[in-house]
């Protein structure tokens, strides 16, 4: 009797297990299905543009709805440059905040600063856009941009990068806004991974006579390198795809200018601006192709970060 009971109970458990396994498997499969659905519809939607323009789509600057001649190089350039500026400013500041919060900050201040960072992450991007247009851009137009133009005006090379009239909005302003927007993401993740460093390791280093700077450089950062790169990549992903805030402050011009103070555009801003009113197959298809290109760029960035992580893990393993 008892043996039979145990047998049926085990079978019940086995059935429950297999149902649970199947359910989670379906859930996991959904991701793959969704992703392939997105890729397929992007590729199908891009066919008219790709078959008309071919490879030239990637190298042409013209974006002319009247004559239906479209090229993606200006938005691709804008996307990469604004993301680069955002990372250039955002990553060091984020790491600085995270290090301060975990290693140096007085306990009483930790919670308020931490909460402030999380609140920054919670602000919708449209708010950043409106703030950028009405407050930040006029401020830059009157202060930082004339300063940059003055300082670099006579430096060959840099006078091209910081040239032109101070519009207030443009590629540089967009990069700054993006830097502010990615800051809370990178900070929150790096802070969390810094907290995973076992105190005993740090204490040992201090015991050996290391300074705080040495402990951070030689112990904390190497220990958490993978997590830091993960945080930076998440920030970069946001910077590449950010739409509304950028649409407000980048100037939306389909041109590549030598100056980063000049107006430009990004892939997502172009799509957001023009999709509603795009008429005709070719125009719509060109916008979808832009979406496909952004997808590929994001994919490549993620793939590169994976490879970097794998290399680092291998190195630390040997």
């Amino acid at each position: 009797m008892a043996a039979q009971d145990r047998g049926s109970a085990l079978r019940r458990f086995a059935l429950g297990d297999s149902i649970f396994r199947a359910a989670t498997f379906v859930a996991a499969l959904t991701v793959l299905l969704l992703l392939s659905g997105v890729i397929i519809s992007l590729v199908v939607g891009s066919i008219p543009a790709i078959s008309t323009f071919g490879f030239d789509f990637l190298t042409t600057q013209s974006w002319n709805p009247v004559t239906e001649k479209f090229g993606a190089i200006a938005p691709i350039y804008g996307t990469l440059v604004t993301a680069f500026i955002a990372m250039l400013i955002g990553v060091p500041v984020s790491l600085g905040i995270a290090i301060f919060l975990t290693e140096l900050c007085p306990h009483a201040l930790r919670r308020p600063i931490g909460t402030a960072i999380e609140l920054l992450a919670g602000i919708p991007s449209i708010i950043y856009g409106i703030w950028g247009l009405f407050v930040f851009a006029p401020f830059l137009q009157k202060t930082l941009q004339p300063f940059l133009i003055d300082v670099f005006g006579n430096v060959p090379g840099l006078n091209m990068v910081f040239g032109g009239p101070p519009y207030g909005i443009g590629v540089f302003t967009a990069g700054l806004i993006l830097a502010i927007m990615v800051l809370p993401f990178i900070t929150a993740i790096t802070r969390d991974v810094f907290l995973t460093v076992p105190p005993v390791v740090k204490e040992a280093a201090f015991g050996l006579g290391c300074t705080t700077w040495e402990v951070i450089r030689k112990v904390v950062i190497p220990y958490t390198r993978t997590g830091i790169i993960g945080g930076v990549m998440l920030g970069l992903g946001r910077a590449l795809g950010e739409t509304m805030a950028i649409t407000f402050v980048i100037g939306n011009a389909h041109r590549i200018s030598a100056s980063i103070l000049a107006p430009g555009t990004t892939i997502s801003a172009t799509i957001a601006n023009e999709f509603n009113e795009a008429t005709g197959t070719l125009y719509t298809s060109s916008l979808i192709t832009l979406g496909l290109i952004l997808f590929v760029i994001t994919f490549v960035v993620l793939a590169i970060s994976r490879i970097m992580l794998m290399r680092l893990e291998k190195k630390s393993g040997t």
Binding site: P65, Q141, Y167, G168, E277
Partner: protein, 348 residues
């Protein structure tokens, strides 16, 4: 920003009324330009009749796509469809209100109406051929006005827009260079300047940037107290943007010459006429699948023609002339028919 608040309030009203859906509810989508008027009309119409009109202001292009896909009862567009396009889908088209587009500038010491421009100069500025405010072409039009020697910052729409369509149509009309170089469309390849999203975006950018010039629907210029310019019209007269000047353009238009009343009324003749005036249009099926819904939509627009004039004028939109309204209503009766061949709209 009062203007935006109105639109938002009306939008909320529309959302609220959707939740109390009844059989008579109809939906439409399209142009952003007339959205303030349609929202106001829908609000007053709901209060009077209890019937809701849900209008999504998603842009003219999207409005055309949605009516073609039959996801809405009516579509709305600022770019009139051609006769061939209307025939292809079996659509009827009629205008609802008229608005004006004005150039706005930000120049120290220059007040609204101080500066005068003509079409050719405007085209040259937006093409980057005139780059300084004290260019001889601008000085010649403005004897006695002190113009600075600063660079002109051009601000244009970044999103596709019926306002841009009418603006570039006007520039194509007055400048051969513009016509061959840039052309007319709801989105064009702007030779110079920065792009701003929506009428609000242009208003914001111009009010912040010294030495800038842009173009907006007239109501946005007054709501944001921006410096609009006067224009030299087709008859060579200098006119200010006023309701009377917009109405003069509408009166001079040859509405019946185009299929679906699809006239573009920029650069119309007449001494009083404002040169950048534009009508906005509604699209419905001539043989609708859901005749009852289309009948409700027509009832709503008939109400707008008969009782919505004051509401439109408050927002500085001009009603369609009565003679044309009568013609449109006759067209509804003869062209928009149910399955039995009877007119779907029975009103007068």
């Amino acid at each position: 920003m009062k203007f935006t608040n109105l639109a938002i309030a009306a939008g909320f009203a529309a959302v609220l009324s959707v939740s109390a859906a009844s059989a008579a509810d109809i939906s439409g989508a399209g142009a952003t330009f007339p959205n303030p008027v349609y929202s106001k009309w829908a609000e007053a119409y709901k209060a009077e009749t209890g019937n809701s009109v849900n209008y999504q202001s998603v842009g003219s292009g999207a409005g055309i796509k949605q009516i073609e896909a039959k996801t809405v009862t009516f579509g709305a567009t600022d770019t009139p469809l051609s006769g061939a396009e209307l025939d292809k889908f079996g659509l009827a088209q009629f205008p609802t209100v008229i608005g004006g587009i004005v150039p706005i500038v930000n120049l120290e010491g220059i007040k609204p109406g101080d500066l005068v421009l003509d079409g050719k100069t405007l085209a040259d500025i937006f093409q980057g051929k005139i780059t300084k405010w004290d260019d001889p072409a601008i000085v010649a039009l403005n004897a006695g006005v002190k113009l600075p020697s600063t660079a002109i910052a051009v601000v244009h729409r970044s999103d596709g827009s019926g306002t841009s369509f009418n603006f570039t149509t006007y520039l194509s009309d007055v400048s051969a260079d513009w016509k061959s170089g840039v052309g007319a469309n709801s989105a064009v390849e702007w030779p110079v300047g920065i792009g701003a999203k929506g009428n609000d975006g242009i208003a914001a950018n111009v009010s912040q940037t010294a030495g800038s010039i842009g173009y907006v629907e007239y109501a946005y210029a007054t709501a944001n107290t921006l410096t609009y310019t006067k224009m030299v019209n087709k008859d060579g007269k200098t006119v200010a943007p006023t309701a009377a000047a917009f109405a003069a353009a509408a009166a001079g238009a040859d509405w019946k010459s185009q299929p679906g009343y699809g006239v573009v009324i920029t650069n119309q003749p007449g001494a009083e006429t404002w040169p950048m005036t534009a009508a906005t249009f509604i699209l419905v099926y001539k043989k609708p699948d859901d005749a009852a819904a289309t009948a409700e939509a027509l009832k709503f627009f008939a109400w707008g023609y008969d009782k919505g004039d004051k509401l439109a004028e408050d927002l500085i939109f001009i009603p369609i002339p009565d003679a044309i309204v009568n013609d449109i209503k006759a067209m509804w009766k003869s062209d928009i028919l149910d399955k039995d061949g009877k007119p779907v709209y029975a009103g007068s």
